[in-house]
């Protein structure tokens, strides 16, 4: 199908968009920043005669703090997220993860809601949102649903989003201190790469700074969906952070993954890189805490 044969509906409000979607959910495909969808259309991976362009719905473009809750409108672009002073002070780890996505040109257009709907197992915004226990708000013309992020992803590129629904908001609790969370990714070059493995970790420091409690570790690109390394989290809980302990934890995390071989890396390589990434993540947290104490 040529792009020239596709019709584009451009609603000017969320209500209008949801009404159109309600009437034509069997045949219309929503697009936002369209940095993935246009490629899929050009490659024939996606076939549709009608697109619903929601990229101009300003009402879904906000980043707010309400008490300890951070609310991000689904149509915020990565540029807007990276430049957000609200996120810089409340969740530097998430902002930092978004900074590594794509190129400046992609960041100008690509949206956080689009990244979630696209559901790539390697999507870099997703592990941070897992460890933040983010809630995804989706709406159709009649009601809204609030879905915990881990329940939103059902399988490889499958999400809990019905054809008449749009993702409208992502929300999570602010992170207390910048030394409580970090994000790391591994790729084949420094810019514009798709993660071979990525990882987000959020913890609570023990008073004496010698161990973690309340750990959350999420790993991407090592399973059909982003996964939590729950056995590793449990193992590290209140454990004194010696070298042996960290390496042992790293191996446990590696055993929790089920990576595949694809054009970017082999399953063996991905599995082998998980311990390195977790080791580095723990030491990044230790360094961040030291830097924080010295400030």
């Amino acid at each position: 199908m040529r792009l020239a044969d596709i019709d584009v509906v451009s609603p000017t409000s969320l209500n209008e968009a949801l009404t159109v979607l309600h009437e034509r959910s069997d045949r219309i495909r929503p697009i936002a920043g369209s940095t993935d969808t246009i490629i899929q259309l050009k490659d024939g991976l996606l076939q549709t005669k009608e697109l619903l362009d929601i990229s101009k719905l300003g009402e879904l473009r906000y980043i707010l703090r309400e008490g300890s809750r951070i609310r991000v409108g689904a149509l915020c672009t990565y540029s807007e997220i990276i430049e957000s002073s609200v996120l810089a002070s409340s969740c530097w780890m998430f902002l930092n993860a978004c900074r590594t996505i794509g190129t400046p040109q992609i960041q100008s257009r690509a949206t956080i809601g689009g990244n979630l709907a696209n559901a790539s197992p390697a999507g870099d915004s997703i592990p941070p949102l897992y460890v933040l226990d983010a809630m995804i708000k989706v709406q159709n013309s009649e009601r809204a649903r609030h879905i915990p992020i881990e329940k939103f992803f059902l399988g490889y590129r499958k999400v809990d989003l019905r054809p008449d629904e749009l993702i409208t908001e992502i929300s999570f609790e602010a992170v207390q201190s910048p030394c409580d969370a970090t994000f790391l990714k591994l790729g084949l070059r420094e810019a514009h790469f798709i993660s071979l493995v990525n990882m987000a970790i959020r913890i609570r420091w023990a008073e004496d700074g010698a161990s973690f409690s309340d750990l959350r570790i999420a790993m991407g690109a090592v399973a059909p969906v982003v996964i939590r390394a729950r056995k590793c989290e449990e193992f590290l809980q209140n454990q004194a952070l010696g070298e042996d302990v960290v390496w042992q934890a790293s191996r446990i995390a590696s055993d929790e993954a089920s990576p595949i071989t694809d054009v970017r890396a082999s399953a063996e390589y991905r599995r082998a890189m998980i311990p390195s990434l977790l080791y580095k993540a723990v030491h990044t947290l230790i360094d961040q805490r030291k830097a924080w104490e010295k400030r």
């Binding site: 020239a4 044969d5 584009v8 697109l51 100008s108 257009r109 420094e190 810019a191």
Partner: protein, 159 residues
Amino acid sequence: MERQFSFRLNGRAVSVSVPPAYTLLEVLREELDVTGPKEDCGKGECGACTVLMNGRPVLSCLVLISQAEGAEIVTSEGFMKEESPSDVQKAFIENGAVQCGHCIPGFIVSAEALLSRNSKPSVTEIKSALAGNLCRCTGYTSIVRAVQETAQKRQEGRS
């Protein structure tokens, strides 16, 4: 299935009648004869089609014309002073940053986008602002130097 779309291009109002899912790049090149932006990969990898949309660098091969309705679009041509090259373009020429020239309009736009937000970029900042533009001829050292030099000259011009 043609429709009317209006936007601003390099400071002037333009209007085209095209199918709504034409890409902005197709409209610029085929309908408006603005050929600075190039189509190389068509998949958002190379940056040769970079233009400014409402002040931000975007890939015109991944923007539909209906998404550009009402927008302010600037291509590399938009930075020229009448028919003469801009300071960024001059710096590219003087630093030997241009060989075949195909990727350069995209680099010019990315460089202008950076300089409009950051008047004193470091080499690292320049490299990351240009990370979405590929050049297959020169290597990047002379390109980075050209952007650095422009930033310095603009600083001196201001002081």
